[in-house]
């Protein structure tokens, strides 16, 4: 059983314990070498965090901001800006267009699909699959995109409207066509076919592996759906684009992993 004081060491380090707890913990530290050692380490972590360097922002950033201001992509200071989007033309960055990204991802996915088709036909259940991992959860962030409450009045005034990404924007160009894609499009069908292939061979794979794969694919599907909706709300948002591309990349990567697992298991021969 873990030492209950171990969980209080950060609070102690930060001066967050009340006097009674602090004195009790200090007495404990005299007796417990492990807690004393961990406390020392936590102090090092905190010190290192405070000493981290702060490199400057990229040099090209200010010219982009200046250009956005000059081109009228943003409101003048003090103007009511609820209708203003920060996402005008100057935001164009180094990212590929979504169709390009999707095409690239799908090319890999289709190759993976072919590999899976070939490999899974000869596949036997994999051994040594690990149990499902512990699910970690992040902090609660308001799902409506609204600002978290803040204490200082000027910060409350500084809050942006509901969300940058929530500002409806008209879709144009290739992003619009991509954002309009549905699971029925041929590209999505390719992914769907790959899933079907895995489904057909699922009895030959280790159940834990299959469950993990399917759970991850479901999460990734959800993330892609979220990304598409965010992009529909703000087609020029390169941050959203990047996330969507990253999500697609994860999906392809997961499928590739499945292929590799199957390939390795297959090369080990029937069991």
């Amino acid at each position: 059983m873990q030492d209950p004081w171990m969980e209080r060491l950060s609070e102690y380090l930060d001066g967050e314990l009340d006097r009674s707890d602090r004195e009790t913990l200090e007495a404990h530290l005299q007796q417990c070498a492990e807690c004393a050692r961990v406390l020392e380490d936590l102090g090092k972590v905190r010190a290192q965090a405070r000493e981290m360097p702060r490199p400057p922002a990229p040099a090209e950033l200010w010219p982009r901001i200046e250009k956005a201001i000059a081109e009228g992509g943003v409101a003048r200071p003090g103007a009511e800006s609820d209708k203003i989007t920060l996402l005008g033309p100057p935001r164009r960055t180094r990212f590929f267009s979504l169709p390009e990204l999707l095409a690239a991802c799908l090319a890999v996915a289709i190759l993976s699909a072919g590999s899976v088709f070939l490999v899974l036909r000869h596949h036997e259940p994999a051994a040594g699959t690990a149990p499902a991992g512990t699910l970690a959860r992040g902090p609660e962030v308001k799902s409506d995109g609204a600002e978290p409450k803040s204490e200082a009045s000027e910060e409350r005034r500084a809050e942006p409207p509901a969300s940058v990404a929530a500002v409806p924007a008209e879709r144009t160009g290739p992003e619009a066509s991509l954002a309009a894609q549905t699971p029925e499009t041929p590209k999505e069908e390719a992914i769907s076919e790959l899933r079907k292939a895995l489904a057909r061979e699922r009895d030959r794979l280790d159940p834990t592996t299959i469950r993990t794969l399917e759970a991850n694919l479901a999460i990734i599907d959800l993330a892609i759906d979220q990304g598409k909706r965010a992009l529909a709300a703000d087609p020029a948002d390169s941050y959203v684009k990047q996330h969507l591309a990253e999500t697609m990349r994860r999906r392809v990567e997961l499928l590739q992993r499945a292929t590799m697992l199957a390939s390795t298991s297959s090369s080990e021969g029937p069991r």
């Binding site: 060491l9 950060s10 609070e11 930060d14 961990v38 380490d41 936590l42 090092k44 290192q48 965090a49 981290m52 400057p56 990229p58 950033l61 200010w62 901001i65 956005a68 992509g73 409101a75 200071p77 003090g78 499902a132 991992g133 512990t134 970690a136 959860r137 992040g138 902090p139 962030v141 308001k142 995109g145 609204a146 600002e147 978290p148 409450k149 803040s150 204490e151 200082a152 000027e154 910060e155 005034r157 500084a158 809050e159 942006p160 969300s163 940058v164 990404a165 993990t212 999460i219 990734i220 993330a223 979220q226 990304g227 390169s238 941050y239 959203v240 997961l254 992993r257 590799m260 697992l261």
Partner: protein, 192 residues
């Protein structure tokens, strides 16, 4: 970066010390009137801190666009800044809000994926790469989302648990627990 006794950092100290606060106010007044050069000075004084906040709370790739969004939003909102706090404090809180709102718009459960990808990596036939050489920054990147957010806001940026709890909509106790979790994970990295 400097911290007060309570751990709260005074952002205006970030640039040029106490006089910069007054200089900031002058520039804010000018910029609020549409003076882009004054806004450029504010940018130069504060962009590093904002960029690194964005980088640590999201990713290197996202940080550039986020920083741009934050400063453009600040430009729009300058008229609402009344000087009741340092401009740096106002800007930093605005930045945190923009970053959190953006993340909320793309709310996903990446930490679940990450953990479960680890399951796949654990399969002997497909071992995951070991990266014993990753530095402290990269170790922070790999923290679970909740722990990373609190760690960056508390240990790196100097916010208090009560402020973090308010910003994130969590309890102060949860903030403390996430901070401890982050430190314990990073401790393992440091003691490798």
């Amino acid at each position: 970066m400097s911290y007060s006794a309570g751990g709260t950092m005074t952002p205006s100290q970030d640039s040029e010390g106490l006089p910069s606060r007054y200089k900031d106010r002058e520039d804010v007044a000018l910029a609020a009137g549409g003076d882009v050069r004054a806004f450029a000075r504010l940018y130069r004084a504060h962009s590093a801190r904002i960029f690194n906040l964005a980088r640590r709370m999201t990713t290197n790739e996202s940080a550039v666009d986020l920083t741009q969004d934050i400063f453009l939003r600040a430009w729009e909102k300058l008229g609402t800044f009344r000087g009741e706090s340092a401009f740096g404090t106002w800007l930093h809180r605005l930045a945190v809000n923009v970053i959190l709102a953006r993340r909320a718009a793309l709310r996903t459960e990446w930490s679940r994926i990450s953990d479960e990808e680890g399951v796949l990596d654990a399969v002997p036939a497909k071992p995951g790469p070991t990266d014993l050489g990753m530095d402290f920054e990269r170790a922070i990147e790999h923290l679970p989302d909740g722990a990373k957010t609190v760690f960056v806001l508390y240990d790196v940026e100097g916010y208090q648990h009560e402020e973090i709890a308010t910003m994130l909509g969590i309890s102060s106790g949860t903030s403390k627990a996430q901070l401890h979790r982050a430190r314990m994970i990073l401790r393992r990295h440091l003691t490798r």
